[in-house]
Every structure is written in structure tokens, then in C-alpha cells.
Assembly symmetry: C2
Homo-oligomer: 123 residues x 2
DNA sequence: ACAATACATGCCGATATGGGAATATGTCAA
DNA sequence: TTGACATATTCCCATATCGGCATGTATTGT
């Protein structure tokens, strides 16, 4: 087996930089394929293929408007991704809290002693 | 050109389900390769290779302890991912607000209604 | 019906991938 | 040093991917 199919889930779909660009662009508002092509400066078939992948995993929705296909983000499909990354949030929150505490201690307590600047291994 | 290299960024690295499993496991605490192999039931070379990728993109750090290599999550590297997904958060927040409003309207008639202890997104 | 517009799809080649098996490297213990 | 243990790397292969190009399909205007 090779790599997992990009059409399998949102994680694979957004691994591709161009697809993230497309999603970023669509985040602003609904757009036609032509607008995406013009703005992102990609070939039309390329855009269509990326949109197809995004559609398969549910990251975008489509609507026909005359000859044009209007694509829009379906943020619900991004949610699992957001939630997965959130499970690691506490790590950098600890970090932030400590930075904040250090800053407060330094400014309020007394300013002069250098705490032997060692890289604390965060724990 | 083919697909972007998996070693290029965190997005590509976490596109692989097994690597996410490894990160989930390491999120709990620092672990040796052997522990990962035993717990996730993968082949040792496979685990080593995945860890190599995670290491290259900075998603994990290593420390040698005798013959064993202790791996730990570097959550900082996950942050860009979290932040990117956050840019779409407003879409589903609209959704949540409406759900919440509906719930409140319904329960306002009641006095002792249970406030639906939901996971607050802490922010 | 016909042409033009707007997309979608198919085929191709170059390349990156993940798993398996074998092997190499590094560390400790006697 | 030798051997056992823990992990990393290499080689091979089947497959999925992306881009480019050509072509197919749907819709509108005349």
C-alpha cells in the first residue's frame, strides 16, 4: 500500500497547499471556478480536480448558476480537524501561562537577578 | 511533480492516520519506540519511519535514555494547524449560537431546566 | 441547430509514499 | 570483546498523487 487516498478524509484533503489556498479563498465568499482560476493563477483543470477532492470529502458544496458552478466552504467538515488539534491545545496553553507568570513575576517582584537562563524542558 | 513531500510541513505529516495515532498516544506522556510499537501494534521499522517524519517536521522531540529513544509531542508545531482551522470557526459558531438560542428559548419556560452541561470551548 | 462559454474528466509521466524484510547502528551488561 | 537489546536505515514494490494536455459535457445566446 502507498499513502492513504486523499479523498478519504479532510486531513488528507487539506494536506495539499493549493487546496488550502482554495479553501482560504472560498472562506471569504462563494465563488465560481473561473474566479478561483483567475485569482489563484492555477490551470482550470487543476482547480476542477482539487475542487472535486474537496467536494468528495465534504469540505465544499456546489450550486449551479447558469453555466457556472458556485463553490462554497462547508466548515462543518473542517471541524474534526479543529477538534483534533484542540486536544493538544493544553500544551501551548501551559507554555503561555508560564510565560505570562514569568513576565508578571519579573515586573512585579524585583528586577535584577538572571535566573541562570536554562532551557526548561517544559514540565 | 507528484504530491508534496510529507516531510515538508505539519499538514502533510498529520495526513497519515498512523502518525495521528502516534501523536495521540504521545500526547498522554513521553514514550519509547518500543512502547509505541507494543501499544499501536505496528511494526518497529514502520514506527521508526513515522517518527522520523514527525521529527523532521518538528512535531515531536527525542531524548536518548540508555538504549531507548524517548519521544514526546512538540505541540508548538501543531499550532499552525490549529490556527488555520480556527479561521473557519466562525462558520460553525454561527451554527452553535443558533442552537444555543433555540435551547434557551425552549428552556426559558422551565425553571429547573438542566443547562445542558456542554463542553465550553474555553475562550 | 450552432457556436461560444464554463467546467469536468481522461490519459500520461514523474515522483513520493508506506509496508515488509533485511540489515546497520548504537548502547548496555558480563 | 562479545552478545543481547533497542532503534534506525536501506531496498524493493504496488499504488496514489499532481500537473499538463486533450477532450467531453452542460448551458446560454442567436
Amino acid at each position: 500500500m502507498a499513502r492513504a487516498a486523499t479523498t478519504s478524509d479532510a486531513f488528507n484533503a487539506v494536506a495539499e497547499p493549493r487546496r488550502r489556498e482554495i479553501l482560504n479563498y472560498l472562506a471569504l465568499q462563494e465563488r465560481s471556478v473561473g474566479e478561483i482560476v483567475a485569482t489563484l493563477e492555477l490551470e482550470q483543470p487543476s482547480v476542477s480536480k482539487h475542487l472535486r477532492v474537496l467536494l468528495d470529502v465534504g469540505l465544499v458544496n456546489v450550486r449551479r448558476e447558469g453555466r457556472r458552478m458556485m463553490y462554497r466552504v462547508n466548515a462543518e467538515a473542517i471541524r474534526p480537524l479543529h477538534e483534533w488539534t484542540s486536544t493538544f491545545e493544553r500544551f501551548w496553553q501551559h507554555q503561555l501561562i508560564r510565560v505570562k507568570e514569568n513576565a508578571e513575576r519579573k515586573s512585579s517582584a524585583w528586577q535584577g537577578a538572571i535566573p541562570a537562563a536554562g532551557k526548561t524542558n517544559s514540565d
